[in-house]
């Protein structure tokens, strides 16, 4: 029987734990930060590299490597910006951390700031997360009051400020360069890269953008050491991760599992299987942008590399399960509507393509589909992939291409019945 492996959720799963500074300290909190402060910043980066931590925001890029790209001796301040703009449909894990154990995350953020030589860190939280914003602000106020943050970080000689910045409802701001533009007080438009944020990020200063869960893992790595952390996951996929499980399962929720446990086991054993005793039809394994998997394709290990090998991606570890009664045309229409709404409009393939895809899918739903339209939808989907400044084009493209490939008959049904 698959069970949770509790590292990041260790406190949250403890009865009576309320996430306040007091209870965090009682649970052994703020013990990792002094360890980091006793090390050289480069040593902290080396440790994170050694632990094999990969970004939990979706791309799975090695965090230590990202940190080592930061431009040095530029004469400008450098910044750590936390991407808490959790908006990929299906993903609701960062909110758990920010709401229920904010200090565990903040401690990781402080360690990150120290490792990168930043004296000010910003946490860009999506605007709709009112409860998480309140929770973080309270936690940060408590830290200032207790002398953890401020001119003397934890009473030492390092100065650090943290600020919560509120977004305002734009999926695109989860893309790191759009997030930085938004943080600067502009429309959230992805930038042309290079230069990458590590060279010219927030206000053109060297910046690292990291996800909430990623930074929270840093606290754990300092606490347990690189080897113990690595031993938790599968090769090249270290540690545990938070899985947002939603859709047609008996027990939807956010679960913490070791990297590399079985995808089917997560759904069956943690999620309690498909609800209502129905058969599984398919799974969207890594947020709405990841290519869909059919029920017969989910006997795989759930980590970055294995899901990648299966032709999809683990992304932000958001699993959406749908049963045999699901109308996949309707589902894809809803996904396409989302990307159409969230396209920033900068690049033509995405701005136009998401609109066309949505219209074509609506035609199908109105029993106005045809083979020609099916082919057109396929072309529109394919042509958005890899042709835009940021990954939103790909995110819109992958579901279309994969749904058409995996469930072609479901689409044909819509015009077979019409004619």
């Amino acid at each position: 029987m698959l069970e949770e492996t509790l590292v990041l959720f260790r406190n949250i799963r403890t009865p009576g734990y309320d996430g306040t500074l007091d209870s965090y300290r009682k649970a052994g909190g703020y013990q990792s930060l002094p360890k980091a402060l006793a090390m050289q910043p480069e040593e902290v980066i080396a440790l994170v590299k050694e632990a094999g931590l990969r970004g939990r925001g979706g791309a799975g890029f090695p965090t230590g490597l990202k940190w080592s790209f930061m431009a040095k001796n530029t004469g400008k301040p450098s910044y750590l910006v936390c991407n808490a703009d959790e908006s990929e449909p299906g993903t609701c894990k960062d909110r758990e951390l920010m709401l229920k154990d904010p200090h565990l995350f903040l401690e990781g953020m402080m360690i990150g700031c120290y490792a990168l030589g930043c004296h000010h860190g910003y946490i860009y939280v999506r605007g709709e997360y009112f409860p998480a914003i309140k929770s973080l602000n309270k936690a940060i106020d408590d830290c200032y009051r207790e002398g953890i943050l401020g001119p003397k970080l934890l009473g030492g000689d390092y100065e650090l400020d943290l600020t919560v910045h509120t977004g305002a409802g734009a999926y695109i701001c989860g893309e790191e360069s759009a997030l930085l533009d938004s943080l600067e007080g502009k429309r959230g438009h992805p930038r042309v890269k290079p230069p990458f944020p590590a060279v010219a990020g927030f206000n053109s200063c060297p910046t690292s953008v990291n996800n909430v869960e990623t930074l929270t893992n840093v606290t754990a790595i300092l606490e347990m050491g690189a080897d113990a952390y690595k031993s938790l996951g599968s090769p090249n996929n270290a540690g545990t991760h938070l899985v947002s499980l939603s859709g047609h399962v008996n027990r939807p929720g956010v679960y913490e599992v070791a990297m590399g446990v079985g995808l089917r086991e997560i759904i069956q054993e943690l999620g309690g299987g498909v609800r209502g005793g129905k058969q599984l039809k398919g799974v969207i394994p890594g947020g709405s942008s990841s290519p869909v998997l059919r029920a017969d394709e989910i006997d795989i290990a759930y980590d970055f590399d294995s899901v990648g090998k299966a032709g999809s991606m683990m992304g932000s570890s958001a699993i959406m399960v749908f049963d045999e009664d699901t109308d996949v045309v309707k589902l894809l229409h809803r996904i396409s509507r989302f990307y159409n709404h969230e396209s920033c409009g900068q690049c033509t393939p995405c701005r136009e393509g998401t609109h066309w895809a949505r219209q074509l899918l609506r035609d199908f739903l109105q029993n106005n589909g045809s083979e020609r339209k099916l082919n057109r939808l396929q072309r529109v989907g394919r042509n958005m992939g890899g042709t835009t400044l940021c990954a939103l084009g790909d995110a819109a493209s992958m579901p279309i291409v994969s749904f058409l490939k995996k469930f072609p008959d479901d689409f044909r049904q819509y015009y077979a019945t019409a004619s």
Binding site: E128, F130, G188, L245, S246, M320, R334
Partner: protein, 165 residues
């Protein structure tokens, strides 16, 4: 234009950024809250002055983000998620139920100004779907019965106990 308490927050916010313009989004949030949940040109101009940018810039930015409104919302702004996970477990039906119950479509406000509905893209409550945000609070695992109950409670909440957006 801000109340003295909010002005303190404004000053504190401005001190947290290297450039005044950086505080634009948080300031717009404060302005919107101060103005009963929406922005007009008066507030746009004021925020522009505070951030030392042109009103056109502020307007361009504000219109890019869905959370900034240019019409007054209802006293209770019901933001219903119908995105992918919510869509799988009845989000659109919840929206329909609300629309039917209140006699308005999403994007509109009831005549008495009490309720407004907005259809949302993913609000990040996927494991607790279907869900919506009422002003600033998440209400999750919605059912039509839960909606009916909530509407009744909100409609009869006395003025002084209101939680405001």
């Amino acid at each position: 234009m801000f109340s003295p308490e909010t002005q303190q927050q404004v000053d504190r916010l401005l001190s947290r950024y290297p450039i005044r313009r950086n505080a634009l989004l948080p300031l717009l949030h404060l302005a919107q809250k101060e103005n009963q949940g929406w922005l007009d040109s008066k507030w746009v101009n004021h925020v522009a002055e505070l951030c030392e940018v042109s009103p056109t810039h502020v307007e361009g930015v504000a219109t890019f983000y869905t959370m900034f409104r240019f019409r007054p919302p209802g006293k209770y702004h019901l933001q219903v998620c119908t995105c992918v996970p919510c869509c799988l477990v009845g989000g659109p039906e919840i929206l329909e139920h609300l629309e039917h119950k209140l006699g308005i479509h999403a994007g509109h406000t009831t005549k008495d100004g009490l309720f407004s509905i907005e259809e949302m893209e993913c609000i990040g409550a996927c494991a607790y779907a279907p869900a919506m945000i009422v002003n600033e609070d998440y209400v999750e695992q919605l059912t039509p019965e839960k909606i009916d109950q909530l509407l009744d409670t909100l409609a009869t909440t006395p003025q002084e106990q209101e939680t405001h957006a």
